[in-house]
Symmetry: D2
Subunit: 375 residues, 4 copies
């Protein structure tokens, strides 16, 4: 009732912008948060686009110039869902104005830029969050907890994957994602596989990359073709600090796959298998089960797996993709209030870019590379 | 922006009350609705409980007396998530006051009561909605569309199910759900199986029921035991008006099952299989596929399956249980505005009670019974 | 090496005849059996057909007259895979000649005939076997063992099914299976669902049947149509002697289904789920698992599940349909040697016919019926 | 009947020896083969062991000295299922004696030895077969046929795997498989992943390997420990001659996995997914399906997928592991008769060893390597 207001200024109203809005709408109902977030202002590519989206999405104010949001003293949080190439400029401006910054992934096209952003945020003392909402799944929290508690014994192996097919059509047009500054499959979705791997097992210390371009030119939208330099598929062999080893793959031309963000973790006493295709389930094999009675058991998400119970008191009813964003937002607001550390701040966003870049370099040089420690 | 406000008065803040609140929060962001719903007032068992819940859930006003909501001229919609036994009194009062009424299922313990409610609502010209949100799943809409379009050929057979295990523990206490007026497995969840069956195939005309009580007494909470008279498992053979035949089962002691709301539909040219355990998928077998290449294909929910795309532009990301409630609310608000017929009004709620009661009677009399036409 | 020979005389060389031959070929290699079975003679519809099949299948002798097998003093076992209508005559003749008799299911079209056969066999003291090889699956033995050992607690509920689509095409010709003496879906495959139900839970005591004909005439092969009087789909509500209740369905027009012989068993402390579509797996939910770690676990067949290990020492490699027949044959040969009781003799074959007939009568009379005890 | 006899001399009666015997027993019943194979002689580690096994398995003669089989002019085929280290000596002796040779995989520990064996067999003009029976699965034949026919369009990507857990226990004793000459995970089961990859997509031209030892010492059976030098997990990035790229993994410490021989193939117009855990199914995604109706369809093995129909005329009944060996044997016997080329002769066995060795070398040198063309 009397909770302090937190005014949100959102930049961008596309796929991710909407997801953020849905998250801000539901998070304060589901969670007992330290703030009451208010959809204060929306900035988009033009005044007109901004006003139209603001009406639908429920923002009080709208503008075609994102700098207005930075300048507005009422706004507490700048939420960036604009194209990747603009993240840095926007975030640095917001940080300079003392705003907290919530930025969709990837934090920046290059690790050096991401580092600049993380350093600036820490120097300014603002709270940051990068959008890695797959990590907000209660079943991933369960997996991490089980690993940390030793329920799988000592971890030996990992196999991670994030494969979709949204770039499988060779006739699909060239876009900013095909620009080396924009990404490629590794930066765009392989990054999720890397984030999950480190979320579960801790730091990756060494990689051998294999980045492959299969569709090397795409229609430029003006009747011609434009060269594509980024990877369509990227793989890496991995070594973890904890002694485990494994691999990941990022793949945006995996025909038929819509959300194959999968992993398997093998320990000395158990194993886990997960697929984002059925992300309300975690499959657990325990060597502690009686002989002749062992097998991967399909654990369905329920109230025993926080914060599932806040969404629904009954098990098996299932969370949706947008609910994961609400969980991310709840964590971020708590971090702003100082209740918890930043769940996935700019330093961690930088970490992912560091991993991506090291894998890209390893692939280009065709040799194993150490991953620099930290972000 | 300038959309008319629709003030909501919610009665009850338990499991379903919260789900309604989450739905009202997200529906107007996801959909372009004719109204801006406002969480106006919350009524609960006591003033204190109501104020506490109102603060968390975002209602402006709160009261321990639900009649205040009925009397409040500002409130447009009375939303009832109170215990089943109170539905009728609350709904009739709201209707008498000219309010639109949104009521959780079951509409009433007895068909006669449900009929009274439906008649009153229609006489008063108010718009009603009963909460049957599993029907709001885009994959069920797809199934219905495929059946209606003849993609399965002529429909011959149906097998439906709603099994959970929340009453499997014989030491679980006696509750209002164990009172004949409160329900049993058929009324509580078998009703979902019936709703889905008619949603997909149209009217059921004849039934043979089998209602079984396996746990015939439960702790009364005061050290004694209290007799249970309702069914733990209920089954029915079915005949449909369209010539198809089939069966359903409702079961609340299905150990290990959390959300086994499943169905299979068999037609002359294809078949569908669905499980609410993985409700973002529909499995489709087409006899039109080439020989040697046939099989049930796993269709994942995506933007081709409205209104999925309003929640997320990318396929395979998945809706959650609460999103289904948002879809239900969106439909109801459109019905209030006269844009569409009531998606599942009191008349349909009555229909479900009629089916439930006919199956119960058939079981008691051990004979096939015709189902009265209509609600 | 010096094992006594057991001479087999096979009648019929169709689908099931071949399966028997494959079973006789592999059983003595896989198992340490009391006899060395020899494919002695084959009888088929004509001399020519018999000789051709005998050459392929490895029989020393062949004949177009099955009575020659009965008369041949060298033959120890008459193995009947001829059309159902002939089972009785052949079996009685063989029994009268003192032969052991192995007969494919159904034992006979009517329970009265099956009883005559069982009585004759017992009076003559010969050993019999009816082909119900789904019951020979190590995973079904595991399920039965788990139930008997109380791993699921007290059994409350059962849901069984055998659905295929081999009669789904209404243009498929009339055959002996469409004759009331030949069967219908309940007799043909619903019988498997019944056999599995009693194998796992013990005697069914009471039933309510629902037998439905959906394709009521079929091409007679001479340009006309012929009426079909048997059921395409049959269901039954069940009561078991042990207090459990449940249902089964037999369905031969289940479009897209090839081998949906499924069951679920619910007990007070656990549950099992099985599908013949993946018959090397048994899914087990244990209430003994830790909270938050429960789920159906997929147990893969392995050496812990006898006699799997005789086929393959490594788990997860999987048995095939024909291996189940070899297991059946091994059990039968041991019964002939007196090492074990008959695994599924004529008395049990009669039992299945009794169940089938009681369900058919119940459906016709539209009332619950007691199932006569025993065979 | 009057088919020429083919006398088999089997060396070894362990896991694989038995599987061969089962295959020889059933193959001539299932298939119309050019020969009648006879289990002539069995050689094992000792006379006693050999006689015992021969009695059970049905061999006429037995010996503790495998050279007797080579010398026996009656024997046509020497079938080697002895430890890997002996393959070469046995095979060369058999070839020198003009015998056809059937040898379990791996053909030899080193490619150089395998080459010697392949060269000798070709020079002698005898027919050879290496046991790679996973390739004999009708669903793999279907996959290859679909790829070759262009049903997936142009092939872009491949992900292969063979993971089991039979070496996951660090307390399991040192065995010949832990000797560099014996194998490691890549040679032992990664070889299957490689065989399947080339079976489906054709030659692999370039690899980058990652072979990892996690359990570096094991009990030596005499109270001490012995160093393990072979890989527990091995991965490789792959390039194919047809322009596709991908990866494979071999893993024998994948806790909980019994038979995870999986692959996914991505083409421009479709995709396939397969798991040996359910090897009677192939999952096919076709871009030719209507929008909103696409998904991986689960094709169940049936008579449309030769030679399934020879085992069983009804679909969905499923083949078992031993049936795959029968298919392998049938192909080999036809090759001996000159009816078809050798399905998987020594030259192909050498090819697999070449791939294994190149990956091992690539891993040791930490660099990409070209795979020598051919065997």
């Amino acid at each position: 009732m009397s909770k302090p207001v937190l005014n949100i200024g959102l930049i961008g109203s596309g796929f991710m912008g909407k997801t953020h809005v849905f998250g801000f709408a539901s998070a304060p109902r589901v969670f007992d948060l330290p703030y009451r977030p208010v959809l204060h202002s929306l900035a988009d590519a033009s005044d007109e686009a901004a006003h139209r989206a603001a009406a639908t999405l429920g923002f009080a104010k709208a503008t075609g110039d994102w700098r207005r949001l930075i300048e507005d003293p009422e706004i507490d949080v700048i939420d960036i869902t604009a194209p990747n190439a603009l993240h840095k400029e926007m975030a640095l401006a917001a940080i300079a104005a003392g705003k907290h910054v919530y930025c969709e992934k990837p934090l920046a096209p290059r690790a050096a830029e991401a580092r600049e952003m993380a350093d600036a945020a820490e120097a300014a003392g603002v709270r940051t969050q990068v959008g890695f909402n797959y990590l907000c799944n209660p079943m991933l929290a369960l997996a991490r907890e089980m690993i940390a508690a030793g329920e799988l014994g000592e971890i030996r192996g990992y196999r991670g994957l994030h494969a979709e097919d949204y770039m499988a059509d060779a006739h699909g047009p060239w876009s900013f994602r095909h620009d080396p500054a924009g990404g490629g499959a590794l930066a765009d979705i392989g990054s999720h596989a890397l984030a999950t791997a480190e979320y579960l097992l801790g730091p990756i210390t060494r990689v051998m990359g294999d980045c492959v371009t299969l569709i090397d030119r795409r229609p430029d939208g003006r009747g011609g073709m434009r060269a594509v330099q980024v990877d369509d598929v990227a793989r890496a062999f991995l070594r973890f600090e904890n002694g485990a080893q494994g691999s990941i793959e990022g793949n945006w031309i995996a025909t038929g796959r819509k959300m194959q963000h999968d992993f398997e973790v093998y320990g000395t006493r158990g194993a886990l298998a997960f697929s984002q295709e059925r992300f309300n389930e975690l499959h657990f094999h325990s060597c502690g089960d009686a002989p002749g009675r062992r097998g991967f058991r399909r654990i369905e998400a329920g109230p025993e797996h926080p914060p599932y119970g806040l969404f629904c008191v009954a098990p098996g009813h299932q969370l949706g993709f947008n609910d994961l964003k609400a969980i991310e937002i709840a964590g971020y607001l708590r971090a702003i209030a100082g209740e918890i550390p930043e769940p996935f701040g700019f330093r961690k966003g930088l970490r992912i870019q560091t991993l991506v870049e090291t894998i890209q370099q390893s692939s280009a040089r065709r040799q194993w590379l150490d991953v620099p420690a930290g972000g």
